[in-house]
Amino acid sequence: MKLTGAQALINCLEKEGVEVIFGYPGGVVIPIYDVLYDSKIRHILVRHEQCAAHAADGYARATGKVGVCMATSGPGATNLVTGIANAHLDSIPIVAFTGQVATQMIGTDAFQEADITGITLPIVKHSYLVKDVRDLPEIIREAFYIASTGRPGPVLVDIPADISNAQFAHRHPVKLNLAGFKPTIKGNVRQIKQAAKSICHAKRPLIVAGGGILRSRAWDELQELVRLTRIPITTTLMGKGAYPETDDLYVGMPGMHGTKCANYALTECDLLLAVGMRFDDRVTGKLSTFAPDALVIHVDIDPAEIGKNIKTRIPIVGDAKTVLKDLIIAVEKEKLEGLEDIGAWLQQVNSWKKKYPLAYKKNGKLLPEFVVEKTYELTEGKAIIATEVGQNQMWAAQFYKCDKPQSFITSGGLGTMGFGLPASIGAQIGRPDEVVIDIAGDGSVQMVSQELATAVANKLPINIFILNNGYLGMVRQWQELFYHHRYSQTDLAVGTPDFVKLAEAYGAKGIRVTEINQVESAIKEAIDSPETVVVDFLIEREENVFPMVPAGGSINEMIGGEIE
């Protein structure tokens, strides 16, 4: 069958099971958009390409499928860069398609030419510049396979205009031939046995689970292991939802704005089983004082993460789900030989948990913690939460307890302000029956507010809860605590739009909340509404996120968070 490159591309995407593309057209991708016009694949027209990448990312996180975005050459492609970097640092499977100027024009500084494979080289898992249309089907197969296999990540495919128009004889199926890409899935049996032995003999064991649990869909196995061993567990920001947060053995999030209980447990434990996490500096704080007494067992699909930041006694390279399954069997066997009594440790952990709950002063004012807490109560913890970055993100992480996986969507690695709104668009499209809420800040949401148009145009019932303090709150908090209250360039109050009017200008619903007694009805109204809703919570301006580990400090030396 003779097809053009553009036809083959859409044909291949349909074969990959792609349901939706987030994108924005332009000159060199018109041939592709022309084919898309007749395709059953849904296209969501964003209003800025960065948000196409973020929406694809949010879709991938909410569904576990590969997210797809598309942009034209030059500025369209460069606008994707932040979104690709974001997916790269959080290991999210997306495939980004960009148009490129015609092959014979490459390198001539042609109109809307940018070397996007070059620009994105350090932030992709892999990339392709298609030079022969006959390679296109194989490249697309490889792109989806690489993006979703092993440690997931973004793959970019750059398609010159003449390739889209060229005709060739297209044949299916395409076979994969990737000699240099063979991720280790099954963990080493001896290492797993040794890990099981150490786990059963530890006096003060702790599990820390990260985003890898979600990527490998290993949440059931993780629960099974905890049930079997009764070991207390903490999940990183990226791992939120990997383990039910309302469970007795859950000790909260670790790190900079984690719970004291999690950080004390990390500091005191004698065995740390780390699964699908990478010991980011926001989790470990000062490395020399991090889990000083712990025998570290590190399970990760990426061998380069093992030993990168933390000395590991028992490294296990493999897929979290596969390794945990094997580990459960090994622990069951080892248990027969006797299990160390960890009763005293559990008591200790429990007493920390009781003594240092996440708390805030209830002074009758409209506080962000209260808004998030109410959101949690009124959605019964079942909503999909996306966040922006900064204080809003930390309050959401602290006070919205996730019991379900794939329900907390946040930019952990790159810390991208403006991620939450487009990500919630992607999440809502991927899981249309769920309540989706973007917990936002006034600074972040202004970076992407044009996407209200995308949400309204597609009748998406997403809820944008703006915790509006008129500040770049997290930077202001650091300035208050470490820079003598010198609020350099963080006051946004003058010039911040009236978000209710802004919502209405886009055809969305806008609700303003200024008093604590309006919170409940506003949240109810928003989540019950079939429209896109913006709720502008005018919160206490200088509320801080506590507890907090100052940058570079030890995680057991936290400031704030005590309520008199």
Binding site: G118, L121, K125, H126, I146, G180
Partner: protein
């Protein structure tokens, strides 16, 4: 300690950029890098020399392995491998010292590949020490220009490393 990594990669445009980019992004310094096609035209072999004192060879190797175009990496044991480098040296050799220079060339079993009125251009191959030694011996006569290929290496014996 210097490590010599023999890295089998896809013979495709952009692969060298990916490897070089990875090294600069992760802050690994390359002492030398030589690349060329192998017996199979689908693959190229890169011989990369890096300083193991300043960087963890383990991290370098693991990060390299993550590149899709990297097929295989071998950290070559100097005892169990053959390494060669080629150097071209243009050295001052007026009639008064020409005989001495030629003598040095003979001792090192190097070749004279170009002759001019006052200079000789010498081609020498050998391991890093030999190349360094001939350079040192010729230095007193005045080296006008010098270029080296960087090290290439293969493991000894029947096994392909």
């Amino acid at each position: 300690m210097k490590h010599t990594l023999s890295v089998l990669v896809d013979n495709e445009p952009g692969v060298l950029t990916r490897v070089a980019g990875l090294f600069s992004r992760r802050g690994f310094n390359i002492d030398s890098l030589a690349v060329g096609p192998t017996e199979n035209p689908k693959y190229s072999r890169m011989t990369i020399v890096i300083d193991g004192e300043t960087h963890s060879i383990e991290q370098v190797t693991k990060q390299l392995h993550k590149l899709i175009n990297v097929i295989k990496i071998t950290d070559l044991d100097p005892e169990e491998s053959i390494e060669r480098e080629l150097v071209l040296i243009k050295v001052n050799a007026p009639p008064t010292t020409r005989a001495q220079v030629i003598e040095i060339v003979d001792i090192f079993r190097a070749n004279i590949v170009d002759v001019a009125k006052n200079t000789l251009t010498i081609e020498a191959t050998g391991n890093t020490n030999k190349v360094k030694a001939i350079e040192e011996m010729l230095a007193p006569y005045g080296i006008k220009e010098l270029t080296r290929t960087g090290k290439i290496a293969l493991s000894r014996g029947q096994k392909s490393g």
